[in-house]
């Protein structure tokens, strides 16, 4: 019996969606626009996070050692570093090599070095990260571990850049959510008003249902289904448009942006993000309906 009633209610919701297709399409477009804004900012933020990760992978990390450290101790530290799952390769840079590198990179400062009695550069171990996604937290934890080993004096790692990239990514995400929240709120009210109009247009029918013995739930459910479908279709449309944008962007706009291309590129959403956006659309639509129905359907 419940199955039959549900089938009737879904059919009724379908009829309503079709009968009032003009205003329902308008709601779908509004919700789709709102979720497209969130989606675009998420895609931008994904790209910045990705760039940050790439940057951290390409950076070398130098562990400066005590110049009196015996070779076997140096080997031990080297082994500890290479044993980490984050590290791809480690090379030993002797004091002489460090000095030679300095001479090569800064020939104008050669005189200063010549005037020094001893080599000021400590020996170091230079490590490179593996080619995979590594979080900044993991890198920091790894550095802290190595730093604690006896014989390791200091660490040089261009953490600033990675941190900047990651905070920019967080900022973009926050702006996206802020703007998205405003748009979602707007679409919530628009859906609520559209469903309210639908309720009003079907006032006569609702009255009849009520008088022939329909329960409040029976009257309300088709409107809730309508809101759910509007929200769901809206968010699916947003994801589809976003998918097209991520495909079209590099082809048509990427070239014109030059160096900025990499920074403002759209990285496809993750499956988790897509699921959240779809669920968000469906929830916004349903809540918009619930508000309209409970306010205007005092049955």
């Amino acid at each position: 019996m419940i199955f039959r009633q549900l089938r009737y209610l879904f059919r009724a919701a379908g009829h309503n969606l079709w009968n009032f297709r003009g205003r329902n399409s308008f709601s779908i477009l509004i919700i789709s626009f709102s979720f497209l804004v969130i989606g675009m900012f998420l895609a931008l933020s994904n790209n910045l996070s990705y760039l940050g990760e790439q940057l951290s992978k390409n950076l070398a990390i130098s562990f400066f050692l005590d110049r009196n450290l015996p070779p076997e101790k140096t080997e031990e530290i080297k082994k500890t570093i290479i044993d980490s799952s984050l590290i791809d390769s480690v090379i030993y840079v002797s004091q002489e090599e460090a000095q030679n590198r300095f001479r090569a990179n800064f020939p104008e400062l050669k005189d200063i070095l010549d005037n020094l009695k001893s080599n000021p550069f400590p020996p170091s171990l230079e490590a490179r990260f593996k080619n995979m996604a590594i979080s900044l937290t993991a890198i920091t934890a790894f550095i802290d571990n190595i730093k604690r080993l006896p014989g390791v004096l200091d660490v040089q790692f261009n953490q600033d850049w990675v941190e900047k990239m990651q905070s920019l990514s967080r900022l973009v995400k926050a702006i996206g959510f802020f703007l998205g929240a405003i748009f979602i709120l707007a679409s919530f009210f628009i859906i609520s008003n559209v469903v309210r109009l639908n309720v009003f247009a079907r006032h006569n029918e609702i009255e009849i249902q009520r008088l022939v013995g329909a329960t409040n739930t029976f009257i309300r459910i088709p409107f809730l289904i309508e809101g759910f479908v509007i929200g769901l279709v809206g968010s699916l449309l947003a994801i589809f448009i976003l998918f097209l944008l991520t495909k079209i962007f590099p082809v048509y706009l990427g070239g014109a942006l030059g160096a900025a291309k990499q920074l403002i590129a759209l990285k496809p959403l993750t499956l988790e993000q897509i699921i959240w956006l779809i669920a968000g659309g469906a929830i916004t639509g349903t809540l918009g309906s619930v508000t309209a129905v409970s306010r205007f359907l005092r049955v």
Partner: protein
Amino acid sequence: MIELYHIWKQYQKPYWALSDVTLEIDSGEFCFITGPSGSGKTTLLKIIFREILPTEGQILIDRINILKIPDHKIYKLRRLMGIVFQDFRLMFHQPVFSNVAIPLQITGLPDKEIRRRVFNSLRQVNMHHKMWEFPSRLSYGEQQRVAIARAIVNHPKILLADEPTGNLDPELAFEIMTIFKEINDQGATVIIGSHDRELIRHFGHRIFFLQKGKIVGQEMKP
């Protein structure tokens, strides 16, 4: 079965639509409420199916005080009843079939059973051939017959009808009354608000006379 005690209804001060109406209708009765226009017939029927609440008084149906039924449970009372509204209250963007089927669909009956019952009801009012027409394309009298079909489709225990023959020619009005009588013979209580004296004289088992919101008399035919 239906007991009304000291019912008063006021829409607007200082006029009383109903004044101290007390009446009892037994189960299985076939009765008319009659009186001139504006005498309170529609108000009285609306109070019985609780579309409106009285200003004062109590109504018992099957010993249950219907004024104390919470709003969310009122559907149980309405499912016992079939109602023919004076203004028909049809859904104009849905075909005749859907209009008549609605009291059955809300109870979750199987589609096959709904189709059978709807067809039978429409056949009773001679509208089965227009099952897929939209009410807007029907005449006034045909719309009224659709409203009657909807009221009888769920075999109600109580049938309330407000001027059910108002727009029908005498022959069809007589047929409709015969249908109501058949439903009554099957055990339903039938209450009809009408001022058609000819029909009342012919069918009325019990007649309540309303005037200016007061019961001014009643008549019982053997």
